[in-house]
Symmetry: C2
Subunit: 516 residues, 2 copies
Amino acid sequence: MLWFRRKKQFSCDDEELEGVPDLVSPRGAAAMQKGSSYWESFIMCLKDPCDPKMNPEGYIALCTAENKLIQETLACRLMQMGTAVTAFSDSSSFCHASSLGLFNAREAVAYFLQKRFLHRINTSKVIHRVESLTAPLESLDQSISGSRHYDDIELEINPEHIAFGAGVNSLLSQLLYIIASPGEAVLIPAPYYATYEYDIKTLPECAVVPVYMDNPLIGPTPKDLQNSFEIAEKQGYSVRALLMTNPNDPLGVIYNPEILKNAVKWARSKRIHTIMNEIYALSVRATCASDDFQSIIKVFDNDLSTDIHFLYSLSKDFGAAGFRFGVIYTQNQKVLQALANLNIFAGVSNPIQMIMSDLLLDDEFVDSFLEESRMKLWQSYQICRQKLEEMVIPYIISNAGLFIYVDFSSLLPEQTFEGEAKLAALIESVGRIVMTPGASQRDCKPGMFRICYAWVSPALLEIAMERLSYIVLQIRRHEWGDLLLGNWTKEVTKCGTHLSSRRSTQNFSDLILQEM
Amino acid sequence: MLWFRRKKQFSCDDEELEGVPDLVSPRGAAAMQKGSSYWESFIMCLKDPCDPKMNPEGYIALCTAENKLIQETLACRLMQMGTAVTAFSDSSSFCHASSLGLFNAREAVAYFLQKRFLHRINTSKVIHRVESLTAPLESLDQSISGSRHYDDIELEINPEHIAFGAGVNSLLSQLLYIIASPGEAVLIPAPYYATYEYDIKTLPECAVVPVYMDNPLIGPTPKDLQNSFEIAEKQGYSVRALLMTNPNDPLGVIYNPEILKNAVKWARSKRIHTIMNEIYALSVRATCASDDFQSIIKVFDNDLSTDIHFLYSLSKDFGAAGFRFGVIYTQNQKVLQALANLNIFAGVSNPIQMIMSDLLLDDEFVDSFLEESRMKLWQSYQICRQKLEEMVIPYIISNAGLFIYVDFSSLLPEQTFEGEAKLAALIESVGRIVMTPGASQRDCKPGMFRICYAWVSPALLEIAMERLSYIVLQIRRHEWGDLLLGNWTKEVTKCGTHLSSRRSTQNFSDLILQEM
């Protein structure tokens, strides 16, 4: 290891910021503001993380919708000689190419979407393992991947309609820049992913108008959409797009095809775009039949016309948010043409395109990987459910996603968002647990929290749920005034430490060494 | 190989774009416009590339400032088992982290900048090969990299002042978004890299005001800067920043420290920012003493204050534009804080951060790689010089960069940019050669062309120069009217094919197989 020392205390004081007046512009100052309210709390979790043995009083983050449960499996698949060959054996990896992405990689993603979202692959043979996409070194590659079958696939999804960007948020931001004007509004069924607002407001300079629904669990009806459309117009907004997340974040529910068809039909009647974010599409849990989820691609039989735009990424289903690999599928040529220029600012590294498209073509691996993912997500979901049932705390029964949406409103000192913030602060200070508060997801009811159960190991999750359970009990037994005065962190963080500790997923090295 | 067939002719017609009126916004329509005038010509080169044996009449692109001469060396270094381990052995590779970049990678780049740009590393031992940055698998890694020495480096460059984005253009765009307001202007010494205008105008919505100089070869003096500042003010602009490229693109010259000091001093007197793009810093050619180039980091003894912002990338010096790995080094905390949020739209994939920072710490490799690069750049530069001397065509004698800037004005049918375009069209149609025209680099004199000599093999470069030489001869012998009427493509493209053909750098597989 190369050890670095700092020569001196590097200064970070604002006092130093002289010399150039108004160092940043007003929009620069606005960009300095944190997007999410619970960011500082999350950082605390990273600085002082709970470890059942080494640091039992540490923090547990339940606020991050990432799937760490299957990272080891992905890591094992990627840590092979073939990866470096796939990534770096071809000149095109090194050269600047179309900002939309390398054509071979777009072709691979078209195949992946066709197989996993459209569920239609016209081929007679089973593909065991596909060759590296780009001029592989036969001798090296074959020794790793074993026998392979070659096949001729009929592509219905046009690779030219696919582009990559540095994450769904980047592509959403660019898409709105292209289809909307500053000041125009986007409708989003609420509650919704908090960071959408940063994506939509910052570069596109658009506004968000939440769609409140009669029944959020089934999704937005034309009546719900019409209501919020009229509210937006009364507020002086011109509505430009409807943005839906399916499976839904934070609810974890899946919208049925009728909801989707009616929403698009309504959007078309208003002549606005529909943006469909299906970033959790393959994180449907084990108990759910795979056809419960239907992609917009399937619902519209791959005819998205020019107004439906599909977004996806490897961040959630593949536990690879750090790869910054987002996908847009749109049949709108103008959008693609603008993106080909705009995306120069947010392109995905070619070697990562090569590596990940090779992986997405590896049907055998993806099948077993997704199966494992579903099983693990189901297990962690069950840990939450079981404990919430014990606590008699309501939650939303759902089929997908990396989280469970929970109603802690009965515990609030007052039924306001101040009350919600007080509960969050209490849970963080005495329980050292951070969940995503409903306010940051624009829920209209105070006391709703999203528990992200896939960012921690099942062992840590169990400890967190024990801590929560203890806190719930104390809140029900005591006055809020007493709760805030008491110093009971130690007794809370003792909860769950008796549970059998399991291996954490923080580092793969131990695991791999064991396997060698 | 997985073969893909298209099911039907996918439609790409504009006629289909109905359903949603005004499908894209006005700014979306603006983003559809191509950034560079010679893009279509470059695409022709990609579609029908010259190969001395297989396709001697094909196109040769001399318009792309990328270094393909050293890609094989880089590819060999990266195609090893250690790469996949470095990239994927640690959980942090998979998780979303700070948008500024992974801390270890920022530390590695701080070390790299300190060694290669500040030229100051306080350590007693030589580093032969550094360990993987992130929890490596000892047993695997050591078998590949051999013996290693560990060392304790004193960092003067603060890793917290470093951030990564998807290329220099992305970071420049974001930096201007942060420090400038829409409508404010950026001064750039002309001629300059054509795409700056897209970077500056699109998202930041700023304007470019060229700085014309008494002597572009020595760089902008305070008088030159003051002149253009006054012109900008007369045009109603508020100037917000000065942007310089050193070594300069397209001139290939290196600014001396006094020029830099005076430019910053002048900028400070106007209370504007200085942005220094040193993307070609390590592409100084073999004949040039390494201390001929001095980075702004060294010139200001690593005290950039809050107004100097340094940009770099692996695209040019490391022949890796496809990696989209840009670096900003700024001591301005406000800029960094805004970037930490804004760069969520343009972050660099974590595995690539891991791989490339491991490489940048590998002093032994980087030393020999850069030495090889300088030597090869020098050879290709000499091929151009020699032939230009034979043609009696003036060019700029330079020390750095991947190009030579040539004065073809004596050949123009008229001394206008229309004349320049006619010459470019003739060279493209009969010579099948595409260079970067001066107009697209905002030169004020028609007839200047940038020849990028490192995107093609020396063998192809020789053929291209033979073709050019033949065309120059014909232009001097004939009337323009006759030239345009004649069909002499065949006789031009015959030129140079007699030269000993060398291996092209299009694909590494052959080379590697030979070496195995």
